[in-house]
């Protein structure tokens, strides 16, 4: 589904990604792990075509089509949804407005109507007239996920979704992620919260100073104490 091959990306002269290769298949949750500043968010931004960083080399294909050189909205229109780091909700838009930003035609094609999103996240239904900045941390994350679903994605890129959430909200988020996998979504999950990532992911890649240094099924990684200690500090 998503295939990243030998990706090099840089901020100006600072090389951040050095030949990253990885893939995410349909119905799989793939965790991308690594300490702060290793290039996880840079990878997500590179896949989405957001600049900076500038992709210098390599390819990103989705369902066999090259994404490199496309603009972010063209990539999103290929049914790739982004749940960005820090949520990045629109402070002046209400919950409902967040979910109806796309044109009528695009919304009509989407299997995620506003009503269905409120079924998935009843709390958002109760807060439909609230603005982005009036929501709690957990509600914000729900809205960020719901907003990405309005694009009718087949692949979800989730960047640090558990960041700043109370444990009970992290569990809620994990249940949502697992539900989405059951529906057949492919999910690339960038996490610093190792335990949350291990709880839901099928396989994991570890990114260290811009390169993939380890790739393993999560079950294997869970028991591989030396690798976890060496690259993730646990």
């Amino acid at each position: 589904m998503l295939e990243i091959t030998n990706l090099h990306a840089a901020y100006g002269d600072a090389q951040v990604l050095r030949g990253v290769s990885m893939r995410v298949d349909k119905g799989r949750i793939v965790a991308l792990l690594g300490r702060n500043g290793m290039g996880k968010t840079t990878l997500i931004r590179s896949v989405m075509g957001m600049t900076p960083p500038h992709v210098r080399q390599g390819s990103v294909t989705f369902q066999g089509q090259e994404l490199r050189g496309l603009r972010p909205h063209e990539i999103a229109q290929r049914h790739i949804g982004l749940v960005p780091q820090g949520r990045r909700l629109f402070a002046s838009l209400t919950v409902t407005e967040h979910l109806t930003m796309l044109g009528r035609a695009a919304r009509h094609r989407s299997q995620w109507s506003v009503a269905r999103l409120f079924e998935l996240f009843p709390r958002l239904g109760e807060r439909r007239q609230h603005r982005g900045h009036q929501l709690s941390g957990g509600e914000r994350q729900m809205l960020a996920v719901a907003r990405a679903l309005t694009q009718n994605p087949e692949l979800l890129l989730m960047d640090e979704p558990s960041e700043g959430l109370a444990p009970v909200m992290v569990q809620h988020l994990e249940r949502t992620v697992l539900e989405l996998r059951q529906l057949g979504y492919a999910i690339l999950l960038v996490e610093q919260n190792l335990y949350s990532a291990l709880a839901v992911a099928d396989e994991a890649y570890i990114l260290e100073t811009g390169s993939i240094v380890h790739h393993a099924p999560v079950d294997a990684l869970r028991h591989d104490r030396p690798t976890m200690h060496r690259f993730l500090g646990v």
Partner: protein
Amino acid sequence: MSMTVFQAMNGATFAALLFIVASGFTLIFGLMRIVNLAHGALYLMGGYFGLVVAHRTDSFTLALAAAALAVAAIGFGTYTLLLRFVGGNVLRQVLLTLGLALVLDDLALVIWGGDAFTVPIPEALRGPVQVGSLVYPKYRLFLLLFSVAVFIGLALLLRHTRLGALIRAGVDDAEMVDAMGIDIQRVFVYTFMLGAALAGIGGVLGGAFLTLYPTADSDILVFSLAVVIIGGRGSLAGTAIGSLFVGMLATFGQVWFPELAYFVIFGPMALLLAFRPLGLFGRTA
């Protein structure tokens, strides 16, 4: 007493003109982070276009429509042919729009010369009207009502249409709008055209009572900048209050402290910014 009321009305009607021009400026500044220094020149071009159409057709309404369309077209060209290619680079944007302002100014000087012109207004708007004990020019009251209509129209656009929601979302986080599958460049073009059209309409309305002359654009640009800085970029309510603030200070300043007219506006503005650097209604991105 009646003199003070008269000056207050003058301040309010000047504020009305400033609001129409500065609302376009703040839309562009707020959404695209472009300080469009050609906004005053767009105002001037609108005024001259309106002047030509008003003379040819005897219709003030047609003059307004033609100026809005023509200046929106200049806005379209400016954005798609020039500004799009310097996205994100503030210095280049500032220099580019300043250069464009100089070109448009000189073009106006070549075409219309250095004389001052007044856009003719329809018979129905000429002369005074008596409100209680106050006798006041009808046209200026019309301008006040027109600006209220523009405020309501823009508020409806921003609050109740999808384009409005996209503009508000873009003011908050344009990159994220793009990452949702919405072509933010298209939203930018529409907004730039709308902002330019408002400058053009302002040029016709202002040209009917402030007169049009080759450097009229820099005066209106400086006032618009002050309005947006005081009100906070991208905020309609902020622009309305900023306009009233600047309009009143400019009018009363000229009457009470003519030698300090500019200081009366920019002194309080500096003071306000010391406490609220983002303006009255400004928010961090």
